[in-house]
Amino acid sequence: MTGSDQETIAGRLAGRTLLLTGASGFLGKAVLGVLLREASDLREIRLVLRAGDDEGALERLRSDVLASDAFDHVRKSADSALAAGRLRALAGDFTADALGRPEGDDALGGIDVAIHCAASVSFEQPLDEIIDMNALGALRLVEALRAGARASGAAEPALVHVSTAYAAGNRTGLVLERPSGESPEEPELDLDSELDAARAWRRDLDAESRLPDHQERFAREARQELGPAGSLPVGRRAEELRRAWIASELVERGRRRCRTLGWADGYSLSKGLAERALCAQNLTSLTFVRPAIIESALHEPRPGWLEGIKVADPIILAYAGGLASRLPGNPSGVLDVVPVDLVANACVVAAAHPPMPSPRTLALASGRRNPITLAEISRTVTDHFRARPLPDEDGAPIEFSDMRYASGARVMGALDRAERALRTGRRLLDRVPVPRVDDAERRLHVERRRVERLRRLAEIYGPYVELDCIFDDRGTCELLGRLSPSDRERLSFDTAAIDWTDYLDRVHLPALRELVRPPRPPRATGPARALGSGDGALPDGPPALAFFDVEGVVVDTTVAHFYAWLRSRGMPGLDRVVWGAGVAARAPGWALADRRSRAAFNRDFYRTYRGLPAAELRAEAESALEEHILPRLQQAAVRRIRAHRRRGDRIVLLTGAVDFLVAPLRALGDELVAARLREELGVFTGELEEPPLTAEARAALATRLATDRGVALADCHAYGDSVSDLPLLEVVGHAHSVNPDFRLAREARRRGWPVLTWATEPGARTRPPAPVAAGA
């Protein structure tokens, strides 16, 4: 290389061909922005993007990369570069050999310098995947570049590899600018054997997850969530739980392996492995750029440019959101943060200034010359969010206490205790029938989610805030000194020049707030609807079937209420009290049975009809309509049924109640499917004529009816209120949950089903009693 050090970067890069990977990522976009802005004389910029082919890569370049607001200020030069063919997109996959490009392809030939930004930055990825991507991926790139150089007869290109400051492992004190593996205290590491071991875990865990202990646990949890929905939905959920368990266990094992070796997580270990592997390749020109925690931009493309939540942000948000007030960490420790545009500048400058000697390591960190401690950060964050609090779900400002620090062990201990308490509550709830169980279950769930989130935060980010080290950046300073005065203004990467309080308060935290601001729901216009209405119009579609669960959707009652009404009707006062007490004593048992399986509960419950005179009960049931059904009718359901009628839908009412009790409802729909009791010699046997119509049976019935009438299930509607209706709701195209119990509400939220709130008439409770004949 020729030319003085005072030559500009643009001049140094003029006429060269540059390869950039990871341009769809946060840092990659920033680097591409710098290149488009500063190096218009580059002969060509080639981008490697994940896509099926180069066409697809170009499409991604347009839609995923250039569409970003990071390119607003260089839009013109980007468009002209694209039009002139100076900006090319190549399809490439770093987890495939030769980047998955076809044999004999010369797209990677003639490259002078490559900047490798592509990496997986997830902290919750299985170890094998992240090593494959970050370490092997870098090697694959080198191989492909060498092959391209050989094919075109050019020299081997220079490589700028973006690593991380934490690739050096968890260290205390000064961390030197040396690639991983060069200091004697580091453990011996073999890339292939780590990868093999991590891959083997998948098979092991899959086998382990099928062991009886685990199977039982998955089944138990699935039953807790979906019990009444029937065996198959429970089985499906158990399988989902098993997969989720394998995934989380893979991450956990990977993390444990990394911590054993002395790294914080798979990400930093994989970067360390990559550095070692690249050093072993003996490249003629190799630079490692090692940024600390990358956060929002300081100046370019605009102050506060941020895409996605970065490392330090979840903790800040959890704190400002009032979720956590005690965090693991060392308040006097330095949290090393660096704005993204500084890193991007450093990458481009490193690409223009080949290393002497190679490999060269450039740390981009502030700890040595301009440190900011965790305590200072938390003070700024507190002040910022005290002055401008985040809104809670209702839009009211969230209040939070001062941030306190504790050792990781203490925080984990507190979380363990909280989890144990929640588990106990959960067990209690499953065994003991309590009133308002829905509400208790919901609160328990919210609390569990909170504890889980805190644990994740503590597990993942704990090591970063507990570190007590300073990254040496002498090499970086030296490179900074070689910049020409004009470049120094526009391409500076001097972390000493940052005013941290100002950066946090005015740049980063506002950007973060913008990022997490929930989308504001459109304000309702027009007259406010009264209770029970405003359920929205029905979607258009061909006439089909509409299934309505009766209990809980059409009528606010249960099988047991029907029974109690029927039996206590006409009982003298005292008898009714005694009888009622007897039934009440059995109610908790029924409630628990119902939570486990609706079908089993129905069978169990109908035994209470054993030995009762059939004709008498049928006669009593004649006044069911006005005495029991109409007062509990949810009139919104009637209106909804009528709306379906107008669409031409056929209304099918499904109920677990006995046929003679709900017979009057037949006029409401076109079809009424109810339970039938077996009758022998004028008395009920307590047996059902057919299996109870619950859970999957309803789904099967819906399917059959739809087939019979030749309509598509996708056009059908179904309305249910409990998780036992889940199979029915899943099988139709339009599912609606009405006053859902906690478990169905959760499923409805997951699937995006509408949740309707229907009510009985207040007049039902305030009406005067019907007069009884005097002297009768």
Partner: protein, 544 residues
């Protein structure tokens, strides 16, 4: 003061108005006047009206008949314009007795109900003549079916127990086999009738006339009619041209239903019976509520204060129960029988003696307190639509001549207008409130867009026929009932009304009477003339 009645144009002597002639029915508010009583649903309010306001009180109750049985016998033996009942009864004939349902009188009459007394005497004669094919039918039109307890109250236990459910039942306007088409009037109004009544050799119709609206030739056409025949005149157009429907001579509703009635009389022999009651709505210890406030004794004032306190502190259901249990110690003032027109004319005269009050001139603002009961919520709940019907339908139309409130004037009612509906009695009202009123409150528009859907809805039809629900179309009729008032007045304000319910129905509401009067001033101008319409007890104004 009292002038002798001058003969009217058609030569008949003009009706005497003893109550109106008493002259004490209209008073003026002075600085010394006690506050004015306003009914407000299941409660009361005492309001001070501005000095100079006019208060129209109900006339005091007339004395009842001394010997009711003798009066009934006289009506049966010496009918007007018809042969005596005995002469029309013969063995082997089919006799049907139809009677008014529980929408009259309000509140229900303390047992024994006069309907039962009359039916008993009719049955006596029928048995004596050897008639054994007798049906008793509650002529309820599109109202809800009466419960056994209610039928028992109306007819008395003896009659009720003597007839089985096949012989004593409610008219079913939706029974496809139970009604027949009689024909069509020369104005094209279809006429239908209960099949049993149409196929009877004699139809005895027992009527209770408690307002000028009721009785007369329209009875059978409506009471035993179907949606098809009733919908001929229960329309926005007819009711806008019935000024008022409490004045049969100027009521398009009466003209139309009268034409139907004539057709029925030609097809079926009818023996018409009409009874009138006095205004004794309140039993002791609340009898004083029927008197003007300045006549309340100190003891009565204490009783009122106690009752109001107790009522206001009761839970809603208990309060509704207490009010719905009240019955009135009415006395019967007349029983008339014979041909429809002749009997009805006499009944109307007797009614006028009790209820007509002469009032001079209209007012800018008319205030009234709406009570807990209307014709369609006996043993039930006065829902918002029924409140509208009671205020703008009944109270506004209780006039002959001109409305008490001037055109463009303001009506101020006191009622809490709770959004409560009886789920058994008024199911279609709930949907009317939620669906129809959310779209429009214009009677003509909702008639055009929604009436048919509700009238022909299978579920409402099912509930009307098998349960105790009003017909699906009934809330629409309630709204048409107020069509004339909606067109006539400039503002309707409910003092103490529920915000959402009043808004939904297109009315305004105020917290106090003073606020309401101020709001009214914005419509009718400063210092308006104010008249308080002191109903109940029931009466009507002849406005000159």
């Amino acid at each position: 003061m009292v002038e002798p009645p001058a003969p009217s144009a058609d030569g008949r002597p003009a009706r005497r108005r003893p109550a109106a002639e008493r002259g004490a029915s209209v008073s003026e508010v002075t600085v010394k006047s006690p506050p004015t009583l306003f009914h407000a649903g299941e409660s009361f309010r005492l309001e001070r009206l501005p000095v100079g306001s006019r208060v129209v009180h109900a006339p005091p109750p007339l004395k009842g008949l001394g010997d009711l049985d003798a009066a009934i016998d006289r009506a049966l033996d010496e009918p007007l314009g018809a042969d005596p009942l005995d002469a029309r009864l013969r063995a082997g004939m089919r006799l049907t007795i139809a009677f008014d349902d529980l929408s009259v009188p309000l509140p229900p009459m303390r047992a024994p109900d006069v309907r039962g007394r009359i039916v008993e005497r009719v049955l006596e004669r029928a048995y004596r003549a050897g008639v054994d094919d007798i049906h008793l039918i509650a002529a309820l039109a599109l109202h809800r079916r009466m419960t056994p307890a209610e039928l028992r109250h109306a007819l008395g236990p003896a009659v009720f127990d003597a007839f089985g459910p096949d012989e004593l039942y409610n008219h079913d306007a939706e029974d496809p086999d139970g009604n027949v088409v009689i024909g069509e009037t020369d104005h094209g109004e279809p006429v239908t009738l209960n099949r049993r009544a149409a196929e009877s050799d004699l139809l005895v119709y027992v009527h209770l006339v408690t307002a000028p609206l009721q009785g007369g030739p329209k009875s059978a056409a409506i009471g035993l009619g179907t949606y098809r025949s009733i919908s001929a005149h229960h329309t926005t157009h007819t009711l806008r041209h019935s000024r008022s429907f409490m004045d049969p001579d100027h009521s398009e509703l009466h003209h139309s239903s009268g034409r139907q009635g004539e057709l029925i009389e030609r097809a079926v022999p009818v023996f018409h019976l009409e009874a009138t009651l006095n205004d004794a709505m309140y039993a002791e210890p609340l009898r004083f509520l029927g008197k003007p406030e300045h006549l309340w004794t100190p003891r009565e004032q204490v009783v009122f204060a106690g009752v109001k306190r107790a009522v206001d502190r009761m839970p809603v259901r208990a309060r509704r129960t207490a009010f719905s249990r009240m019955s009135a110690p009415y006395a019967v003032t007349s029983v008339t029988g014979g041909a429809v027109d002749a009997a009805h004319a006499v009944a109307l005269e007797r009614l006028a003696e009790q209820q007509a009050v002469r009032v001079e001139g209209q007012s800018d603002v008319v205030t009234a307190g709406l009570p807990y009961i209307g014709p369609y919520n006996v043993n039930s709940i006065l829902n918002p639509i029924l409140v509208m019907c009671l205020g703008l339908g009944y109270f506004f139309n209780l006039y002959q001549g001109r409305p008490l409130v001037r055109e463009g004037g303001a009506l101020i009612f006191t009622h809490p207008v709770p959004r409560d509906f009886h789920p058994v009695h008024h199911p279609s009202y709930i949907d009317f409130y939620e669906e129809v009123l959310a779209e429009t409150t214009d009677p003509a528009e909702l008639e055009r867009r929604f009436e048919r859907d509700y009238a022909e809805d299978e579920w409402y039809r099912h509930l009307y026929r098998t349960s105790h629900a009003y017909h699906g179309v009934h809330p629409f009729y309630m709204w048409y009932w107020g069509a004339h008032a909606l067109e006539h007045v400039g503002e309707v304000i409910f003092v103490g009304g529920d915000r959402e319910a009043c808004r939904r129905m297109g009315f305004r509401r105020a917290d106090t009477m003073l606020d309401a009067l101020e709001m009214a001033e914005q419509v009718v101008g400063r210092d308006p003339s104010i008249t308080h319409f002191g109903c109940p007890p029931l009466f009507y104004c002849e406005v000159e």
